[in-house]
């Protein structure tokens, strides 16, 4: 069943404004409205309505515009400051944490260094004593040299 050409023309007229139509449909619509006074009037009325819509001029009070402008820019500045503060805050906490860590670990480090030093001193003392022992055992008084004869086995 063929659709009513007038209905089709009116639908295409509106659809061209709503979402756009194909080139073939545009050609068909133009050829139809060229010969159909009613559909041409329909298109003309639609065009007048859209022109009327665009002719509306809503007035905005300058005072209202200023109030909105001030409120919004003020809010934007406050939000900006809050944002900057929130960016600084994690760094501040990190700094505090680092300081506490240093304060807490300093005595432990000092204690470790002290123990390490004591251990080194202990090792040095042992070494000195060993050297002294070795020196004492090697050095034989001259008067006793004769007693230390080779092959003297007692």
């Amino acid at each position: 069943m063929q659709p009513d050409p007038h209905q089709r023309a009116r639908f295409l007229n509106d659809e061209a404004l709503v979402a756009g139509i194909s080139r073939d449909d545009q050609c068909w619509l133009h050829s139809h409205t060229d010969h159909c006074a009613e559909c041409a009037a329909y298109a003309e009325l639609t065009s007048r309505i859209l022109q009327g819509l665009n002719s509306f001029s809503f007035e905005i009070e300058p005072a209202m515009h200023r109030r909105v402008q001030n409120a919004v820019t003020d809010r934007a500045q406050r939000l900006g400051e809050m944002r900057r503060y929130s960016q600084i805050r994690p760094w501040r906490w990190a700094l505090i944490a680092a300081t506490l860590l240093i304060l807490a670990t300093t005595p432990i480090y000092r204690n470790m260094r002290h123990k390490q030093h004591e251990a080194e001193m202990g090792r040095a003392d042992t070494l000195v004593l060993e050297r002294v022992d070795a020196g004492v055992s090697r050095e034989i008084p001259q008067a006793m040299e004769l007693l230390n004869l080779p092959g003297d086995v007692r």
Binding site: D14, T46, R48, G52, S55, F56, M64, A71, V72, Q77
Partner: protein, 197 residues
């Protein structure tokens, strides 16, 4: 701090400014979009009352939700969707609206409010210049806001059907049929007005 890129698009510039809470850019945006925002709210609500509050709330919401705007779509579509949600929330609080689709449509954010006809001092009559516009203003007052809204978004804001569907939260096919229906109703009201005079 990121530096502006020479190839940055306008929407990306807006997104960057919003993310940085750039007060100068916000001021520029208010200047640029104020008229369109007011007009959209007038078409949506059909009344001047509370428009200033809604406009202010919308901009504050733009600031607080700035992170959501990535500059991939037109700013005005995002702005209108925020304004729409606030207007519907406001109307819900004042309990002067009814739903035109289903009760679930509001709860899931796809609200489409049917507003009462303006009580007095129609913003459309006040905005009309010329005989045709006056007749059209009368027709707009009689028109359901759900049709007024899509007609404005399509023919004055020049948003695509997809953009309108995102603003309104309804499928493109529904938007298309609403625009067709809205145009048809305006033509009927217009002819009715012409016959009456």
């Amino acid at each position: 701090m990121p530096f502006p890129d020479a190839t940055e698009t306008e929407t990306q510039r807006i997104a960057r400014g919003l993310h940085q809470n750039d007060a100068a850019l916000i001021g520029e945006m208010v200047d640029r979009y104020q008229y369109r925002l007011v007009r959209y709210l007038l078409y949506l609500t059909g009344r001047r009352e509370h428009v200033e509050d809604l406009v202010q709330e919308t901009w504050v919401r733009v600031l607080t939700r700035a992170a959501q705007y990535q500059g991939r779509s037109r700013f005005e579509a995002w702005l209108f969707s925020i304004a729409r949600n606030l207007a519907i929330d406001g109307l819900r609080q004042r309990q002067i609206f009814s739903l035109d689709d289903s009760p679930a449509s509001v709860s899931n954010g796809n609200a489409s409010a049917t507003l009462p006809a303006p009580l007095h001092s129609s913003p459309f009559l006040a905005a009309a210049r010329g005989e045709d516009a006056l007749r059209l203003a009368a027709a707009l007052e009689l028109l359901d806001p759900k049709y007024r809204e899509v007609l404005l978004l399509r023919f004055q804001e020049d948003l695509s059907l997809l953009e309108i569907s995102k603003v309104v939260g309804l499928p493109v096919t529904t938007i298309s049929s609403r625009i067709h229906r809205g145009l048809g109703l305006l033509r009927s009201h217009w002819k009715g007005g012409a016959n009456a005079t």
